[in-house]
């Protein structure tokens, strides 16, 4: 009997693609003691989720564990029968998925789903386990713990749902919980609450956990030890403080350095300059509900304005107003001092050309059935009237600008490209129209940090070369710090604060800006503890809520 709760030795995992088995994990060891939290980090495709699931003896469809051993508390999970595993999963091992919204059954109430595992495993009766559920909800600082369980998943917010999921995982008091990117889909302010409650409950019940994430600052708060994965291989493993202060491997160091990118400050704009885009007092509504009220800001030539705020704050709606997809009810939008028709259908081809957009999800922004050459070539042909050889030459020029070799990529389909490359194609398509102004809607939030940094640097370089203006929609303040000249903070459809970047990152600022800024996780492992202390909430949960009310 070893003293490890989980002991994985030389685990090899393969995935099926095109009739052959390709390695996903090439012989990784993973050990976990009782009550310990291990952070697994790496880029997407590094195999961290696959390894996390393998710790439960589980594989997704089309994936198999081809070698090594997985022991859980002395039980060989790879040799265990389906029945034996059924006894363990849910009872002694629990799993918290990235998207709680997709993991809850929308047709059942929260508490009914909570009690399912304990009743199934015969640990407690329905009433007993429901009472325990309420207790857990209270511990996790969910609002209204006595009643929230009777709601359906769509009736509670994303952060609350993620905490309810954590409570559900705790229902049988498991020895091990696997958290698979539980906060990636959440806003920074909500993320704090979830992180704090996860940490509290894991400590309180002395549960061991594997915490999978790509966010280093988050893992620094949560884990006792960190293991870095790269393409199915272990890069290094050390306890959190050592790892953060003195990483030994080049790859780890490069991960750590990402957040350092910051553009030099630009001189202030002349006061009489005409802004490229001027948004004046727009109020917009979906149906009869106003989602934006009286939003105004200017964007000058060669400048980047970052619009920040939580989801639902009206950032993307503002972009839809500027592009004309959602004509505002009140207000005007000017391009170079000339008013733009509010509906995009009434705009001239020339006006449409000047305003381009880059989307968050490159997967849905590029037509999957068209080659890269066709995707970039269409605006070249449509706006510039170039055809044949001239068009192909221009496309090659554009691909050169986004640092992708044209001869290699021009005939590929989007599905044959990586996430970062797809985003570059999105940029090239916007550039092909030779616009003055580009709206970047969360362009880096779906990308790994190293890749995202590359995209930001590319956008910055293009701005310097072509004198473009950007409106940069983001919820990530590290991105703002890296690229913005001016910042507009939005909340509930209203501009809370706006001004040059250096003023925004210096106090004093609006209470909401303050909350937003202080909620961004830092690489310091004591950051969360200190923050909670500072916010005057000794026990977690409504740290953010307490501050706001």
């Amino acid at each position: 009997m070893s003293d490890f709760l989980v002991e994985m030795r030389d685990v090899r995992i393969e995935g099926r693609s095109d009739e052959t088995w390709m390695p996903i994990i090439n012989g990784v060891d993973l050990t976990l003691k009782k009550g310990e939290v291990l952070g697994l980090i790496g880029e997407s495709g590094a195999g961290k989720s696959t390894l996390g699931l393998a710790a439960m003896g589980f594989c997704r469809d089309g994936v198999r564990i081809s070698g090594g051993s997985v022991m859980f508390d002395g039980i060989d999970l790879l040799a265990a029968s389906a029945e034996q595993k059924r006894q363990l999963l849910g009872k002694r091992i629990a799993y918290v998925a990235q998207s709680a919204a997709a993991s809850f059954n929308p047709a059942h109430k929260l508490i009914d789903q909570h009690t399912e595992a304990p009743v199934q495993h015969g640990i407690a009766g329905k009433a007993e386990s429901a009472a325990d559920g309420v207790e857990l909800y209270r511990k996790l600082r969910l609002p209204n713990p006595d009643e929230i369980g009777f709601r359906y998943p769509h009736q509670v917010s994303g952060g609350q749902l993620q905490r309810a999921m954590t409570a559900m995982a705790m229902a049988c008091r498991p020895d091990l919980i696997i958290f698979d990117e539980p906060t990636t889909a959440l806003d920074v302010t909500t993320q704090i609450e979830v992180l704090a409650s996860i940490r509290q409950i894991v400590e309180e019940f002395d549960t061991a956990a594997i915490y999978i994430t790509h966010d280093l600052a988050v893992v620094a708060q949560m884990a006792d030890r960190i293991k870095v994965l790269l393409k199915g291989d272990e890069v290094e493993e050390a306890d959190t403080r050592t790892m953060l202060s003195e990483p030994t491997q080049e790859y780890t160091k490069s991960l750590w350095a990402v957040r350092a990118f910051e553009r030099p400050e630009k001189p202030p704009v002349a006061s009489d300059a005409t802004p490229v885009i001027s948004v004046q007092g727009i109020t917009a509504a979906y149906g009869t509900v106003d989602v934006l009220s009286d939003v105004s800001f200017d964007i000058h030539a060669g400048r980047t304005v970052a619009v920040v705020g939580e989801s639902g704050s009206g950032k993307s709606t503002t972009a839809r107003c500027i592009t004309g997809l959602l004509p505002p009810r009140i207000g005007t939008i000017e391009l170079d001092g000339e008013p733009l028709p509010l509906d995009y259908r009434k705009r001239s081809k020339e006006q449409l050309r000047q305003v381009q957009m880059i989307y968050q999800m490159a997967d849905t922004a590029l037509n999957p059935r068209k080659s890269i050459g066709e995707i970039i070539g269409r605006p070249v042909e449509f706006y510039m009237g170039l055809r044949g050889g001239a068009k192909r030459k221009r496309v090659a020029e554009l691909m050169d600008q986004i640092e992708l070799p044209a001869d290699q990529y021009i005939d590929r389909l989007p599905s044959e490209l990586s996430g970062g490359q797809k985003q570059r194609i999105g940029i090239a398509r916007a550039l092909a129209a030779e616009p003055k102004f580009i709206i970047c809607d969360e362009v880096t939030s779906a990308l790994d940090q190293l890749v995202a940094e590359g995209i930001l640097k590319l956008l910055a370089r293009l701005q310097d070369e072509l004198g473009l203006s950007y409106m940069f929609i983001t919820h990530d303040l590290a991105t703002v710090r890296a690229i913005a000249d001016e910042v507009v903070v939005m909340k509930d459809g209203v501009v809370v604060e706006q001004g040059p970047k250096r003023d925004m990152f210096k106090p004093p600022h609006h209470a909401y800006t303050d909350l937003l800024l202080s909620s961004v996780p830092e690489m310091d492992p004591d950051w969360l503890t200190n923050l909670l202390k500072e916010r005057g909430v000794d026990n977690i949960g409504d740290a953010a809520v307490g501050k706001m009310s």
């Binding site: 381009q356 269409r378 706006y383």
Partner: protein
Amino acid sequence: MSSVPWILGAIVVLLAGGWIMRLAGQKLTGNKPFFRDMPLAVAFGYVLGAALVLFGIWFYFQPAVTQDGVPVASVQFFRWAVQGVLIGAAAAYLFRLVGRVVGTAGSRKVFRQMPLTAAFGVLVILIYAFLAIFAPALAPHGQEQVFGQANIVPGGNPALGGNPDFPLGTDQIGRDILSRLIYGAQNTVGIAFATTVLAFVLGGTFGFLAATLRGWMDQALSRLVDVLMAIPSLIFSLLLITVASAWVSGFGLTVAMVVIIAVIDSTRVFRLARAVGMNIVVMDYIEAAKLRGEGLPYLIFREILPNATAPLLAEFGLRFCFVFLTISALSFLGLGIQPPLADWGTMVKDLSAFINYASFAPLAASVPLLAAGAIALLTVAVNFVVDWMLNRSSGLKD
């Protein structure tokens, strides 16, 4: 009800057999997960399957003729069915083998990944297409030609009432069945194909239009389609064709039938195209194209259509089968393809009386089954191919 104890007894025996097989499997393989995690119901299924296979083999080798010289129809038909399946599988296997060696790198790859069912389907469709295109050259006699001898039994064996000149026999007024089957491929399949294409052009265009424009256009089209779909399609087409027959006859009636079935079937295509289109229209690349100022034809045919081909193609295969069966059904009722044109549905109807000879003259009884088999074979083949294409298109999404 004396069979109930027998059935119960058989189930008990099979359950016991399953239990023993699982136990034996566990012991022999050293508790491999396959046997270890096998539920008793699955073991029961395996034993039941094995018992059926054994019964089939035993039944196949029963004498097809009793000692008195009376044919045993059930054995004879069973043998034909088994032989048909085996020959089909072997042909499909060879076809796939050839496809894997001959052709371009791309086509070889397609054949390598093709399941046997799909190879069978592709082979059958190719043969049908070949027969339909070259029908006049391949058919030994004309489709309207009447010979002196009616009701010749298939098989071409004079001892059993056949005639080597007419390998599949002649029908009730003395027309060569083989020739009519081959011409039937041209008429029935050709008309079904034309009808399906027309249904797709109509339904697809209006469906994408409704999905892109939304608003009143979508409402008007969708409600119209709802009304058309509310009426049972076969009865509706019967009604419309009866109405049309008041104005046109002969070839004109066939054209009217094509249009009527196409319009009725286009409602189903409309539904699918609209649903698929709606999912595509919300994509960011459509938004990007709209913001670029692209016109409606570009949006529909260049942005939406390429992404909808997989489900539409699959639907095309299924729809083709339904149209084909509808035409055969109409012909069976005397309203479809008009004589003297050869048509499989009409042939089944005209020769259906022969099925009564099944118990004592299997050869004679197989006459109506030839045309029915031609219909069934094509339907099965198209479905195999459609299944395979659906699998491929859903696999590509991963």
